[in-house]
Structure formats: structure tokens, C-alpha cells
Symmetry: C2
Subunit: 218 residues, 2 copies
């Protein structure tokens, strides 16, 4: 009975084409033009077909959310493979995080921007655990075992994540741009050329020093 097999395959194909087409539209036209009807038009099916694959619009967004966090976790994992020094791993992950955000703006905007994620949503994104583990493992590797009994990996994990997200979030919007400089009146000076990266380095540097300093004081 290869018939139900073929049907299964065809159904999968439609589902994939929904996601592919939707993503393509988001990348080329932004989230504001993410619409069930437009997707239906593009895949040349009627609207209810989409609802036979996804419960509602949010379910499609959730799918992309999962992919996004999975991609982020994988990216960080790969980034820290280069070295075995925990501090270097932290630095590598920081720049990888930054690059991921700006190379996948659509993902990042979905993951943090569109709609405040609820507890239920978060529980449906297993890759968040991966993300947590990848970061935390480097953090615990930074402190010698036994020393720093007050060291809280989860706290440091949240600090690290918050720093990075804050940096990205503000720089991805126009809020991070210097104020009042509508046109580049003194572009040549360049003290603030590539400022965001400097801020990133600055913040990551003091984060790492914060952990190492506590190491020496105990």
C-alpha cells in the first residue's frame, strides 16, 4: 500500500512549501507582510489547506521560533569548538551571537520581538535548553572546581545572555544610532565607526574579568 505513503509524502511537501514560501516572503518583504492569505496565494492553494497543516498563524511562527533558537544554539556550539580555553569560548560565542543576529535579522526579530513569549511558548522551544547548556558549560569551566562557592552558573548565564541581547536589540533598532545625526555630517572622523562592535568587546571583556577577578579574590 504505497498509496497512503505517497499521500503522506505529498502532505509533507505541502507543509514544507508553506514554510519555505512563508520564510521567503518574510525575508524579502519583512514580517509585516506575513499573512496566511498571501501564503495561500503563493503556494497556489486555498486558505483552509494551510489550516490543515497548522492550527493557526502562531503555530507557524512557533515553527520558525524553534528553528531560530536551534540555529542559534548550533551556531554557538560551532563557534566555541575552535578553542578549549573557556574565556576564549565565551568571547567566540559572543561574536557568534552578534553575527547570527545581524545575519538572520528576521529570525532574531521573531525570536525576541514579535509578541512577548509566554511560558507555554517557551516550553515548546526545546532548543532553549541547548542554548542554555552550550553557554553554561563554558561558564562553569571558567571557575576552578571548589573555588568560588558562591558562583552561580545560571546567574552568569543570564547576565551573559542579557548583555548580548540588549546590545543586539538596541543596535538592530534605530535606538542605538547617535542622536541628532540625521545625515552624516562628519563621516570622515570615524571615532564611532563600528561602535557597536567596540561596545560588544567592552561589555564581554568586563564580563569575563568579573568572573576572573572573583577567582583571585578567594
Amino acid at each position: 500500500m504505497g498509496i497512503i505513503d505517497r499521500k503522506q509524502r505529498q502532505k509533507e511537501e505541502v507543509r514544507a512549501s508553506i514554510l519555505d514560501t512563508a520564510w521567503q516572503m518574510v525575508v524579502s518583504e519583512g514580517w509585516q507582510s506575513f499573512s496566511i492569505r498571501k501564503i495561500a496565494d503563493a503556494i497556489e492553494y486555498s486558505v483552509p489547506v494551510i489550516y490543515s497543516h497548522f492550527e493557526n498563524k502562531d503555530a507557524i511562527l512557533l515553527e520558525f521560533n524553534r528553528k531560530g533558537f536551534q540555529l542559534l544554539a548550533d551556531t554557538l556550539r560551532k563557534a566555541k569548538e575552535g578553542t578549549s580555553d573557556p574565556a576564549d569560548q565565551i568571547r567566540a560565542m559572543a561574536t557568534a551571537y552578534w553575527n547570527f543576529a545581524f545575519e538572520n535579522k528576521e529570525y532574531y526579530q521573531l525570536m525576541y520581538g514579535l509578541g512577548i513569549p509566554t511560558c507555554e511558548t517557551v516550553s515548546k522551544i526545546p532548543a532553549l535548553v541547548d542554548f542554555n547548556e552550550v553557554v553554561t558549560s563554558s561558564l562553569v569551566a571558567m571557575v576552578a572546581p571548589g573555588k568560588q562557592p558562591s558562583f552561580d552558573p545560571f546567574l552568569k548565564y543570564q547576565s551573559f545572555w542579557s548583555m548580548l541581547h540588549g546590545l543586539v536589540s538596541i543596535n538592530m533598532s534605530a535606538l542605538g544610532h547617535p542622536i541628532g545625526q540625521t545625515d552624516g555630517q562628519d563621516k570622515k572622523e570615524g571615532k564611532h565607526d563600528n561602535l557597536p562592535r567596540q561596545v560588544l568587546d567592552d561589555v564581554v571583556c568586563s564580563f569575563i574579568r568579573g568572573i576572573q577577578a572573583a577567582e583571585n579574590n578567594h
Copy 2:
């Protein structure tokens, strides 16, 4: 001719009632139920009346955006009035920022969440300059004049802001909650009770130390 005077006053009243009613609805029902038609219903006018006061929906949002940033800047200004020590001022502003965000979730969600602010939007929020100045003035006061020639107040301002926003942003969503703990299986332990505040202290502390350490190394 007090007639046009009275008309002016009445028009202002309607405008105010639009904003008041809209805000009331947002606070009680969230941003998802922010609708021109609902506002029109609530103020007992027809829809086009609203469009005679605001160009479109975004114009109303912009109004709240301005108020939000003005409120934030004022809050920080008041918070640092307590002390004259720059480091204490930074600390005070950090906690004030945190409190502002969670006491005015609707404002904060609008200011950073709903729609990525563009350059044009940012230029229409004058309070951003105030915010910048309030924070920066304490930052420059931290370093003795002459020392630290490489000290960049704008960079540190961005670091500070990013840290705070990242912290707030992640903790205001469900992303900041410990993973997998759907129900409070071990609530009594309490190592992570009030963790967000600890993270805030941790991050602010290392930020200040980062500036002070550079002071001593030059």
C-alpha cells in the same frame, strides 16, 4: 471671539480623552486590544473624529512612546538626585530603570517591543536626548578629568543601556524563567528567588568596576 477659544478647548478635550481612554484600555487589556474602533466606541465618537486628531494609528503610538521615554528620563533624573557619588548614581539609575520597566510594562513594551523603531521615529522622541544626557553625565563624572584619554562616554552609555535593556527584556518575557520548571517543584529552596535582581546587581557591579579598574591602570 471666545468661540474659537472654546472650540480649541473642546478639541483638546477630545484629544485628551482619546489618549486617556486608549491608555486605559491598553493597561487593562494589553496592547493586542489597542484599536481605533474600540477607542472610538469608548469615547462615544465616530472613527473619523480620531483621524482628525491623529494622522494614523502610529501617531497615537508615537505619542505614548514620547511619554514613555520622557517618564523614563525623569525617573532616572530623580533617582540620581539622592547622591553625588557617580558610582552610586549609576547604581541608583540601574535599579530605577528596572523598577520603571516593571511598574510600567505597557510603556516598556511599546518603547522597545511593538515595531522596530526607525530613524524617523527616533528623531521624533526628544526625550531620548534627555535620557542620554542623564546617564552620560554620571558616566563622565566617574573618570577624573585628564585620566583615561581613551574613555568614550557614548560607548559606556551604550553598554549601560544595553545591559539594562537586555536584562529587562529577557526577564519581562518568559525567556528568563528557569527552563523546564513548569510547576514549582522545589519552591522552598529559593536559591533563585529574586534572581533577576541578583543578575542586575551582578551586571551593574562589574560594569562600574570595569570603569574604575581602567582608572587605576593608567
